[in-house]
Symmetry: C2
Subunit: 364 residues, 2 copies
């Protein structure tokens, strides 16, 4: 509606999104609410986000000709996944705005960099050691004890690239199991549950955190998120402030999630990992908060003011994994349930097909 | 995700939408939430709904070859405007499901049919007479008195095709002003304000009305909607039941709006007109109701269960007409305001560019 000026865009702008899954899809839908068009770039021809995007490109993330055309066609680029290749990020950042920036990707793509960065901010993390050989692993296990967890430094998600070192575990087998990749060993933390802070940092440095939410995993995949989390007021403050410090230190622009372990009965938290993107544990915000994480991310990366992160009640988000999505008709008929389906053609075990939110207003 | 069975569709289905404006756009966005893809058919190459649709066709509504391809490519057809040509509706209905059906279009496209239909249900309407000649007009004015309003039977909207017959008006001039088209004369009703009932009727005959809303027009274009309307409980019941009777009598499937005049200080209502589609006065439901009118319409035309029409608080919807949309940044920064922009490239006077909803929770 008017010419984009310097950093800040205006309605009518074209938002480029790398990745074509459900997160990109929900970003494109939120962008549309604000009059922003989406151009989705993804390798898979049947990407769910293509169905709601003004433009799309089927391309590999290494295809520089395709990336150059994409960069020329958009006003800003964001992404739905943290494993954007560093070369791709650098290539795009040289041609257009990229938010969140290359530093957020570099830090969070590598568990060692991430842990080093977070502990360098004075925030509590599990004890960790780098592991680049079997000898390193033996030394690390001697230092951190058993049980402990061996994790690849890169490309791990939903429990992949991890192996537990139990009292009887054979270390050579464990190192074999993660494919001899550069790794870290994390000491065991006796946590009672997992929470996350989903927050946004604006182009102007503004910070808005959604309320801390509690996450329940099944088979290493998020199954339920409930808000508010069972945390003491002190631990809640610590969690929100930890995410704030992380966002500031990264010069972050956009929505991010910080997963944390809860120690004891909610008295304290330690940082587990950072996701430089909208996050499954923030899906509750679609109906549960004044501004959804998707709208908030679009606002941030476009240089718009952040919206209110205020919560609307007690909220539960249930992931629909695999054939759980076949319950769609029952869920549509359930009073108070808000169904979201991702438009994926094939139901497969372990595949995230959709989610449901349920909001119960709280009395003031 | 499974094969559509008889009338009822399933997620993954393709919803055809005639018309490519903001209503089609918001229908396509709602459909996406439910895993339904949209195929938008519209004559204008820069239709705002194309930006969020999986497929689109640029075509004239009279182009039977294009319509046939469209019908073959979708599972059900709906529309965003009531002036779908009867031949187009019949052509599509013979090839695929069309909801709402041809009867709803036939009745509501013609003010005389509409008024006759509504009064035939025993519902109050303004007194009216058909006008097919200047002699008819003279007879009608003698019967209904002045002031009264001469309206074309077809293709009127936003105050177009209407002329007021005041005490001094020349009748020949008035008849000239509406182009000698078939018309009706409506007697003057001393109404205090305008309200509407936006409601849905499901494929199973279920009925769900949103709360009655009050509409404020400027220059014959809706400017504000506020909910709840200032009506007595009795008049509220009458309004909701009138819409219910209209929906049943039309065998209606989908969302519709019934505009009504309020008599006195809210003691009674009379029916003004019916819109067989989602309606601008229902935009408040996006944040103001448990289910938006767009989600509700998609549910109904796909044969899914209707959602809850419960209201979330006191709601105001403000239309952004013309350069009011240039306030977008200020509106994004306003606490509690939810901005919706339609992605229209050019700001023009009188053009609906977007809207804002504001919801204030009510104490229980």
């Amino acid at each position: 509606m008017s010419t984009p000026v310097s950093q800040g865009l205006a309605p009518g702008a074209m938002l480029g999104i790398l990745g074509g899954g459900q997160l990109a899809r929900m970003l494109a839908l939120a962008a549309a609410d604000l009059g922003i068009r989406a151009h989705v770039f993804a390798p898979e021809a049947d990407s769910p986000a293509f169905d709601v995007a003004a433009r799309h490109t089927v391309g590999e993330y290494e295809d520089e000709a395709a990336l150059a055309r994409f960069a020329d066609a958009v006003d800003v680029v964001t992404y739905e996944f943290e494993n954007v290749p560093a070369a791709t990020a650098a290539f795009l950042a040289a041609r257009t705005q990229l938010h969140p920036g290359a530093r957020a990707l570099a830090v969070t793509q590598d568990r060692l960099s991430e842990k080093t960065f977070v502990s360098g901010l004075g925030l509590a993390v599990a004890p960790f050691r780098p592991v680049d050989s079997l000898v390193d692993l033996e030394t690390a296990v001697a230092a951190l004890g058993r049980p402990s967890i061996l994790k690849t430094r890169r490309f791990g998600y939903d429990g992949k690239g991890q192996v537990k070192i139990a009292p009887g575990s054979d270390l050579a087998e464990a190192y074999e199991a993660i494919g001899h990749f550069p790794a870290i060993l994390e000491g065991f933390v006796p946590f009672s549950r997992e929470v996350s802070v989903v927050a946004a940092r604006g182009a102007d440095g503004a910070y808005a955190a959604f309320d801390v939410c509690e996450n329940e995993h099944r088979d290493h995949i998020l199954a339920f998120t409930r808000v508010p989390a069972r945390l003491t007021p002190g631990a809640t403050r610590t969690a929100i402030e930890a995410a704030h410090r992380i966002g500031d230190a990264l010069g972050y622009i956009g929505v991010f999630a910080v997963e944390m372990f809860v120690i004891g009965d909610g008295e304290s938290v330690i940082v587990n990992e950072i996701a430089p993107r909208v996050h499954n544990s923030g899906h509750w915000t679609s109906e549960g908060a004044e501004t959804s994480q998707f709208h908030q991310h679009v606002r941030a990366v476009c240089g718009f003011p952040l919206g209110s992160a205020a919560r609307r009640g007690r909220v539960e988000m249930e992931n629909l994994i695999g054939d759980a999505a076949l319950r769609w008709r029952q869920l549509l008929a359930e009073p108070g349930a808000h169904l979201h389906l991702y438009g994926k053609r094939d139901v497969r075990a372990g595949r995230k097909m959709g989610h449901v939110t349920r909001v119960v207003p709280e009395k003031n």
